[in-house]
């Protein structure tokens, strides 16, 4: 069935700029509530910084808990943007068009949020200044670049800078459009941000060539970021469950799994909230679900391999850890929930087209995946530290404190708050992409069937 409708550009402008040119009724109450929750989170973080990490459940030997789990989770979510935007752009996948901006945005905001966690986890965040950029030249002491704790911020900063610039460059034509539709201070703002965009062939060519070039440059960064995050653990040879040679690709594919699922969640919300039924269609969810089946199954393969390699050496502590992760309370319960939500429930459901094209089901299954993927990170990080080992004589069972849970919830409110704030000023679906799709797509008759045909430029 052909789901695409022929839409004129005035209609496309009116629909896709409905968040910027008008204020949807739900926007202000939602942003206000989120704003209050964000402030509560900031207050709790401030209290924690003032009182110290004693207000958390972190204690010897579990010093990496909910914060680092959530850090890895948000870095994972950030992999949505480049996976969707860069790969689909490079392969000229037509269905990418309504998805790219939201995915790039999710990358930027989730990375910003991820960066908060190691900072607050350090206990005295101001001392980070002595530890990473700017280099402490006055004392002649420099960061130890052999530590993955230095590699991490370098990689994430690179990814964040690149993603933000990528987002801005792709936003230029839409900023020109907003400039043309606004008056007063908004017009002045968009005029400056659009840099004088006019839409001549040279500017459009730079959008196309530049977009492909940036995609090609961002892809290797995207792979490196989660690889380096995985080395925070994999290089720690003393912790069973962490010291694994396949952690880098395992983390990357896991990040893509959770990231693309987060894009599905966001797409469903965008369709419902802004009523973009003409632009975000069931066929897009169908395509994303097909992609997710492949990614999720690849990720499951890595999960199995990671377990196999761990057990193959028959190292007693490693076997003990795996036994604890999978068979001892409460880890076994978490492990079962993780496996069911990350793979066993959603993927078999996605095998059916009725599910793939049902937006409500796609929304809930994509949330399930991210519940599972958060648990996966928790099960990687905490049990390795929590397992009782010889010659350690102080022991506390790790129970995340209300402070940690509040900051965890804050991170979701914060990302949503930023997204909604962005949506008030900038379009979440690229208008020029939606219009280009109309220019480059037409219906052709093959026999008695009317089928959509997509023009692709040979270059």
């Amino acid at each position: 069935m052909q789901q695409r409708r022929q839409l004129d550009q005035v209609y496309t402008n009116r629909k896709l700029l409905n968040g910027q040119l008008d204020t949807p009724k739900w926007w202000l109450p939602t942003v206000s509530v989120l704003g209050v929750l964000v402030l509560i989170g900031v207050a709790v973080i401030s209290v924690m910084i003032n009182k110290g990490l004693g207000v958390t459940g972190l204690a010897r030997p579990v010093y990496w808990g909910l914060f680092i789990t959530t850090f890895v989770f948000w870095v994972g979510i950030s992999h949505a943007g480049i996976m969707i935007s860069a790969i689909l752009r490079l392969t000229q996948a037509e269905w990418r068009r309504p998805v790219t901006r939201a995915a790039e945005l999710l990358t930027v905001f989730s990375l910003l949020t991820a960066l908060v966690f190691p900072l607050i986890h350090a206990g005295r965040p101001w001392r980070i200044a002595y530890w990473i950029m700017p280099y402490d030249i006055s004392r002649g002491i420099y960061p130890n670049i052999r530590s993955p704790l230095i590699m991490d911020p370098v990689a994430i900063s690179t990814y964040l800078t690149g993603s933000t610039l990528f987002l801005y460059i792709a936003l230029l034509p839409d900023l020109g459009n907003l400039r043309d539709r606004t008056t007063g201070w908004k017009n002045a703002l968009y005029t400056v941000l659009a840099l004088g965009w006019r839409g001549n062939p040279r500017q459009w060519k730079m959008q196309t060539v530049g977009g492909i070039l940036l995609s090609a440059l961002m892809l290797p960064i995207f792979v490196s970021v989660h690889s380096i995050v995985s080395w925070d653990f994999a290089i720690a040879s003393a912790v069973e469950g962490w010291h694994s040679t396949i952690f880098a690709p395992y983390f990357v594919i896991g990040a893509v799994h959770s990231g693309v699922s987060a894009v599905v969640t966001m797409m469903a919300l965008m369709r419902w909230l802004w009523k973009w039924d003409d632009f975000i269609r069931p066929e897009h969810f169908d395509a994303l679900a097909r992609l997710l089946i492949v990614v999720a199954t690849g990720w499951l393969g890595f999960t199995f391999l990671e377990l196999t390699f761990a057990l193959y050496g028959q190292d007693a502590p490693e076997i003990a850890l795996r036994e604890m992760q999978m068979f001892q309370w409460p880890w076994n319960m978490l492990f079962i929930i993780f496996f069911l939500t990350a793979y066993a429930i959603p993927v078999p459901m996605w095998l059916f087209k009725r599910v793939r094209t049902n937006i409500a089901l796609m929304f809930w299954t994509s949330i399930l995946v991210n519940v599972g993927m958060w648990l996966e990170r928790f099960l990687i990080i905490v049990p390795g530290l929590a397992r009782r080992t010889p010659f350690v004589y102080t022991w506390e069972a790790y129970r995340p404190s209300p402070v940690e849970w509040t900051i965890f919830i804050w991170s979701f409110c914060w990302v949503t708050f930023l997204m909604l704030l962005f949506s008030r000023f900038f379009p979440l679906v690229p208008l020029f992409e939606a219009k280009e799709s109309q220019v480059f797509t037409d219906d052709v008759m093959i026999g008695r069937a009317k089928v959509p045909a997509i023009v692709r430029e040979a270059d």
């Binding site: 990689a155 690149g162 610039l165 990528f166 006019r198 839409g199 062939p201 530049g210 940036l214």
Partner: protein, 168 residues
């Protein structure tokens, strides 16, 4: 004094006819351009295909980033030569990671600068324009050093079916 006129079209075909007409009337390729609210296939209006040097920018940026990263990673380690974990002071594998990230970062920044530069942006006085262009209309803009050819250009635009002609 430089003046310009803008012919507005509602369909791509008459705009392409206007571009052809301007070429036939002897206007230099650099004096007229087409403005659209969406990318069209290259050559859809018979326009001059713009040449660019964008591909040089990432290479240039990457060379700068790599050079800086070699300096940063080696000089900082040598300045405070503390052995940690029995590893060499200049630990090549660890250095490579930082070098890789800095090379890519500089490559991306240079590419973005390249896109902006090659798009001839920022341009805060972009000249004659119409907001209907971002509603699907197509603009053909012609720039003149003197007013003697304005009438010729208007005739071509009207002949091709321009809905409106604006002067600046």
């Amino acid at each position: 004094m430089t003046t310009s006129i803008l012919g507005l079209f509602q369909q791509p075909e008459p705009a392409a006819d206007a571009m052809d007409g301007l070429k036939e009337a002897g206007f230099d390729l650099g004096t007229f351009d087409v403005l659209t609210g969406t990318p069209y296939p290259e050559g859809a209006f018979g326009e001059h295909v713009p040449q660019h040097r964008l591909f040089r920018f990432p290479a240039f940026g990457a060379i700068i980033g790599f050079t800086l990263s070699v300096f940063l990673t080696s000089v900082t380690q040598l300045a405070y030569p503390m052995v940690t974990g029995g590893k060499p002071i200049l630990s090549i594998f660890a250095m490579l990671i930082i070098m890789y990230e800095m090379t890519m970062l500089a490559g991306v920044i240079a590419t973005v600068i390249g896109i902006v530069f090659e798009s001839r942006l920022p341009n805060m006085k972009p000249g004659i324009y119409d907001t209907r262009i971002t509603e699907g209309w197509i603009g053909v803009v012609i720039t003149f050093d003197d007013d003697s050819k304005v009438a010729d250009a208007e005739r071509v635009l009207n002949g091709a079916g321009a809905v409106e002609i604006k002067h600046a």
